[in-house]
Symmetry: C2
Subunit: 152 residues, 2 copies
């Protein structure tokens, strides 16, 4: 499927604020309300628009401490990877987990309240998972940029 410039503009607007009404969007895009409506429906049907969500202020809900954890497994058989991946997916503190190339196997993005909570997480949850070789934690000092907007 090809996205024309109007689709791209529409997706940018929805990525910045999905609460805009179709009427508001129609004005910005010089289209009718129905035309905008149908474009959105098409993008949803095609799966280009994955979902509509609310983003919270992490600080205000007491999850402002972000840690990146680089992790190695002790073995790399398919079974080990599968088990580890299904376990790590269950952990709510882990927002993101990627299998990566390079010196370590996985990179995890973890959100908790503070250092104390992270220590607790590390000791009681992460390092109790099977097959974990080593971990290396990198702490966030400052969030410079954090967006979900993909520019097409």
């Amino acid at each position: 499927m090809t996205l024309d410039p109007t689709d791209k503009k529409l997706l940018l607007l929805l990525q910045t604020d999905s609460k805009r009404t179709t009427k508001e969007l129609s004005i910005k895009l010089n289209l009718s309300v129905t035309a905008v409506y149908e474009r959105i429906k098409k993008l949803e049907r095609e799966g280009i628009i994955d979902k509509y969500v609310v983003l919270l202020d992490k600080e205000k809900v007491g999850k402002g401490f972000i840690v990146f954890c680089h992790l190695k497994l002790i073995q790399h058989t398919k079974d080990f990877l599968t088990i580890f991946e299904s376990q790590v997916t269950q952990l709510p503190e882990v927002l993101e987990c990627y299998h990566v190339s390079g010196d370590y196997d996985y990179i995890l993005k973890i959100v908790v309240k503070d250092m104390k909570a992270y220590r607790e997480f590390l000791v009681t949850k992460l390092t109790t998972l099977h097959h974990i070789g080593s971990t290396q934690s990198t702490f966030m000092i400052n969030e410079v940029k954090n967006t979900t907007i993909v520019t097409i």
Copy 2:
């Protein structure tokens, strides 16, 4: 501000799907439509709910290649940091940028189409920024988990 169990449940529901109507939410939470409406407005007013957005399928919009880039600056004076940070914020390929503790200064999450596009980005954009010491790229092999849901 304190969040009661109903608020937490409401936030979880909105974080998974913000398109739910207040009517639908009222049924799930055993409240009236207005009560749900007022709780949501309160959460928006307080800034707990930061924003409503659409999330796209990165693969389908040709931005499925994710790279983590660890970066060092050549100097660490405040001016250098500020300039670098304002420049990196402008780059649409950089979804996230954190100032971190440890062996390097920044960790960047970058999305592009493929390896070729990444090379192009690295050569023409990232390494042309001032004061950059070294970069180290880690490529994603597989996305195990990627959520925006913060469990409170």
